[in-house]
Point group: C2
Chain length 107, copies 2
């Protein structure tokens, strides 16, 4: 599975996006991440594994705890790929602008 596969597929799950949103506020342990969800600890542990595998989060070992935080390079690769689409879409918008401009001129 490519990194992009893993990253996009990790982001496809709302629980995982919520975890990332929580981590955007700062580091959190597994139990801290379990708390806000109506879901068991093993389920969250698995989501964390998926996020880690996708390179979206990092974990430290701190005694019996495993605090998680966002991976600094997380968004870069995704952005790079989206940039390819963005470029075209912007071009399309511009073309649309041209059309609209032409219509205005014709008025």
């Amino acid at each position: 599975m490519s990194n992009l596969d893993a990253a996009f597929s990790a982001l496809a799950d709302p629980t995982r996006r919520a975890i990332l949103a929580r981590l955007a506020l700062g580091e959190a342990t597994v139990m801290e991440l379990v708390e806000p969800f109506e879901m068991t600890q093993p389920a969250i542990s698995r989501h964390l594994k998926v996020l880690e595998g996708a390179g979206l989060i990092l974990r430290r070992v701190e005694g019996t705890k495993r605090p998680c935080r966002l991976a600094p390079t997380a968004v870069a690769e995704i952005d790079e790929w989206l940039g390819m689409l963005r470029k075209t879409l912007t071009a399309n918008y511009n073309r649309l602008d041209d059309v609209l401009a032409a219509m205005k001129t014709e008025e």
Copy 2:
């Protein structure tokens, strides 16, 4: 399923990303999209349905053909969500810069 669920989950498949990349070059019919892949036409038709459902592509009817193109608003919503992470990650980078700066001062 939220739009973001659908969008990210559509992007998680490499065939679908390849289709989007192809459409970034311009409109294409279903058979034109089938051609470069080692996959049957029904399989591609399904991928197109997923992409359409996620709001990533649009289709016209043109006689017996159904040309596809990128949806202009495709990337916007995704970007909006990623922006949330980007913000934090930038902040983290800045904090790292601070640390590095501090280390340098101590030398």
